[in-house]
């Protein structure tokens, strides 16, 4: 009797351990769970493009200093041209603390938004990503970009130091924190989370087609150039453009 009970007792102990471990994980995971509204209404002042009533809303948390974010812009453009009039993109600031001058770049972009040229300014920041983070404060460079897009340099310079602009960047960054954004770029397509350019390229078409009631896309392989990790947000990490999706552990 005692001998035949041993395997049962042993297996039971294993089940109890696994159940306890799984319970602890699920408790921690769902205790602070936050659901992003699948398709929030258009808010005044937000940085968006595409029709307000578009069936697909992509919310993008991005950092101008992150190489993976730059690569993801190409994928987003492709999605926009593949599904014209069906996608609305909303940009959210998420500068990472270990990325040099990134917060300043986001303030500059917010000022460009006030001047009505957010999207071309954003494109410029990504295009010149290898140049402006080097050396001293790039505010002067940002001013040149603004001038080239037709913005008044005096107004722009004042805006750059406006505490309200800083607060907008900080507020959107906090929104990301609440949503457990831990790497850039992070996207929410009608509430479905995707992290990094590869996931966006591989998964977004089937999610979008599902929303639009279209048949699933042909299977594809990731474009080789997109295999860029979102870079970790650790101080020990070198500040490099070609680093993986960044984590948010240092943000708090």
């Amino acid at each position: 009797m005692g001998k035949s009970m041993k395997p049962v007792r042993y297996a039971f102990a294993g089940i109890v351990i696994v159940a306890a471990v799984a319970g602890a994980v699920l408790f921690v995971r769902y205790r602070g769970a936050v659901n992003l509204s699948p398709k929030g209404p258009a808010l005044a002042g937000e940085k968006s493009k595409g029709p307000a009533g578009a069936p697909v809303q992509i919310i993008e948390f991005s950092d101008f200093r992150c190489g993976a974010c730059r690569k993801a812009e190409g994928v987003l453009s492709q999605l926009e041209s593949d599904y014209p009039g069906k996608i609305r993109i909303v940009f959210k600031h998420f500068p990472l603390p270990n990325h040099a001058w990134s917060p300043v770049a986001h303030q500059a972009a917010e000022c460009a938004h006030r001047g009505g040229v957010f999207w071309p300014y954003m494109q410029r920041l990504f295009q010149e990503q290898d140049k402006w983070p080097l050396g001293a404060n790039p505010a002067q460079t940002f001013l040149v970009y603004a001038q080239e897009l037709g913005l008044n340099p005096e107004v722009f310079a004042k805006c750059l130091v406006d505490p309200e602009v800083k607060e907008v960047v900080a507020r959107e960054s906090r929104e990301g924190d609440v949503l457990k954004v831990q790497a850039t770029p992070t996207f929410f397509i009608n509430g479905e989370r995707m992290v990094g350019p590869v996931a966006l390229e591989m998964q977004a078409p089937s999610v979008i087609r599902g929303i639009l009631g279209l048949p699933p896309p042909e299977p594809v392989t990731p474009s080789p150039g997109l295999s860029v990790l979102p870079a970790p947000m650790t101080p020990a990490n070198p500040v490099s453009v070609d680093t993986p999706p960044a984590k948010v552990s240092d943000k708090a």
């Binding site: 294993g14 831990q182 295999s227 990790l229 020990a236």
Partner: protein, 150 residues
């Protein structure tokens, strides 16, 4: 027992490392870990979502088993295999690019954030520890011994 003492500590170390690695990934959105895995050249994208969902549970469950001494030898072997896979992935990236990735995806966001080269050498040490624990036939201070007394 006396000669086992350092190996008991090594058992705890190996178990805790994997419990921490698994737990920090599991309490955060799985998509973050997926993004890191997607950047490894050796891993086909088709298996990335499944791998990202399953591997943290393997780390957490076998790490806990090892600490408690449940199925000690096989848990040690499972974690040795995990460590070997990590060594192969990081080694391949290093061989292909001349440098380690800036984020290996080994730990989620937490207080313990070793650099990737440190993690590579820790994985090598973990392979050695895990193999030695697997070869140890009867582990003192373990549930195995309590549930199956000799």
């Amino acid at each position: 027992m006396k000669s086992y003492a350092p190996w008991f500590l090594a058992r705890l170390f190996l178990g805790l490392i994997f419990v921490y690695a698994g737990f920090t990934k599991l309490v955060n959105p799985v998509e973050n870990f997926q993004a890191v895995l997607a950047a490894y050249r050796l891993i086909p994208y088709a298996v990335v979502p499944a791998l990202a969902a399953v591997s943290p549970w393997i780390e957490l469950v076998f790490g806990t088993f090892l600490i408690l001494g449940y199925g000690t030898r096989w848990s040690a072997l499972a974690l040795t295999s995990c460590s070997l896979i990590f060594v192969a992935l990081l080694g391949w990236e290093f061989a292909a690019t001349g440098r380690f990735p800036s984020d290996c995806g080994c730990f989620g966001t937490g207080f313990f954030r070793p650099t990737v080269p440190q993690i590579f050498f820790m994985d090598l040490a973990n392979v050695f520890i895990g193999l030695r624990l697997f070869l140890w036939k009867n582990h003192p201070l373990s549930l195995d011994r309590w549930l199956n007394p000799a």
